[in-house]
């Protein structure tokens, strides 16, 4: 059952999978670092679920799922950004909204009635089915995100670790929060192409959480986070290719394994 590694890149869908997976991993590693230091893990998780309604709604309207997902996730993210600090006390509200979005997605898929496998694809990802159009959109989204990140990183880092001081120094916490959640929405959309909306958490939070425990400087932390995310995605795709088991399983499994290992060592 084991195919040789040389065949890994022989098919176009495999190349697409590696490119899309790498793009998503880079952004997830970068953004995940800030998600953790800003205590936004739950929001990131919620945004994944909310995207389900967007992706299935887009199918109903005849659009590409990724387009609908991106639009709805950005809207939801901006809403969360406006709530700002209060978001951490709103677990209940977010939980109910994200469940409703899953429910809405189910309705849309029921009405769409086109292809029963769509639900599984959106929920658990379909990296091997990434189309040329998806790849183009992903490339643009990551370029824009990286450009914006490179402009705001100093301020983002400062407001993340010293919000009170940053505000006193004249930085608008509100706008910093809004800009960041839009980038977060982008990262969530890209990550869910790889692992699906349900498992966004694994790629967005896992590598960054491990990296932060092992590093005490900004650059080492964020570099390790990106490196781990990319390696995990590559390993996940390769293992999936060798075993025929789903990519999402391998990626979430690798993150889980690393996290357990990390907890044992750090104990």
């Amino acid at each position: 059952m084991f195919n040789s590694i040389t065949n890994l890149f022989a098919y176009e869908f495999m190349q697409h999978a590696f490119i899309a997976g790498t793009l998503a991993a880079i952004l997830a590693g970068l953004v995940g670092y800030f998600v953790i230091i800003r205590n936004l893990s739950f929001a990131a998780h919620a945004l994944g679920h909310i995207g389900f309604a967007g992706a299935s709604g887009a199918l109903l309207l005849g659009l590409a799922p990724i387009t609908g997902q991106f639009i709805l996730t950005v809207f939801a993210a901006v809403g969360m950004g406006i709530l700002g600090e209060r978001i951490n006390r709103m677990d209940m509200a977010i939980g109910i909204i994200l469940s409703f979005c899953l429910g809405l997605g189910t309705l849309f898929l029921f009405l769409y009635n086109g292809y029963a496998g769509q639900a599984t694809i959106i929920l658990f990802g379909n990296l091997l089915g990434v189309s040329h159009h998806d790849l183009q959109l992903m490339t643009w989204l990551i370029i824009i995100s990286l450009v914006v990140m490179s402009i705001i990183t100093k301020r983002l880092l400062f407001t993340s670790i010293e919000p009170v001081l940053a505000e006193a120094k004249g930085i608008s916490l509100f706008w910093m929060s809004i800009i960041f959640v839009i980038i977060l929405a982008t990262a969530v959309t890209l990550a869910s192409q790889v692992v699906g909306v349900i498992l966004v958490f694994t790629l967005l939070i896992g590598p960054a959480a491990i990296a932060i425990q092992w590093t005490q400087r900004f650059w080492t932390g964020i570099s390790l986070s990106v490196l781990l995310a990319v390696i995990i995605v590559w390993l996940g795709i390769s293992l999936s290719y060798c075993t025929d088991w789903p990519i999402s399983f391998w990626i979430s499994g690798l993150v889980f394994g690393l996290y357990v290992l990390n907890s044992l060592i750090k104990r």
Binding site: I36, V164, A168
Partner: protein
Amino acid sequence: MPPVEQQYAIETDNLMLGYDNQPIVNNINIQIKPGEFIGILGANGSGKSTFLRSVLGLLKPLAGKILVLGSSPQRGNIKIGYMPQMRNQMSVANLTSRAIMEASLDGTEYGIPFLSATKKATVQNALELVKATVYADRPFQQLSGGERQRIFLAQALLNNPQILLLDEPLANLDPHYQETFMELLYTVQQNLHATILFTAHDANPLLGIMNRVLYFAQGKVAIGKTDEVITSEKLTSLYGTPIEVVNFKNRLFVLGEGRHIYGQEAHHHV
């Protein structure tokens, strides 16, 4: 031509401060000279932090006027160093103190955080000033309360401020750490000649070091030397209720109706 020396570091004229048009404190008329060490005392919610926010330009006056270094307060004035109240929710970033300071030094700029050698030296100087170089490269979260306060002080000193605002730096510190912090601050002021505004619950740690007291109570303020302000008569008229100040072994105890006033006063505002 040398710049015109301002007469006052901070000057207010019938200043009224509050939130949502609800005044917290009214009729503040004070002049603080450059280099003065002002202890700001009063209970929780009496307006101490509100006053600092107004100096920082984060809060517009409801009425009256405030001048900081000769002009209206402006958010992000680098001539003001600010040490906020002890953060109860520290970031989980796991960064070293040095990394946190580097992030705050150019945190108001745009771009990717690569620090120049000059800026690294600035951070190093501030760390040396507060004698914190030994633990500057350890994760901030692993530091003791006293060590953290030193790092926060170093952070406030980063741009060689002319005015230093310290909001409750002694809160949650053991008496021993309070003492070392005050000694350190005294040395720092000798080097820096900054105007210092220092809020506290208890006057005693500040007695030897502050020039004047700014006392907040019942929406009013009083300013003057310690022995002019922290007296039974003055505080009784400020609070509008009998207050007794007892001097015991060179320590001041402020008592209201037999109880320690700070504990009692807190009830009104919770």
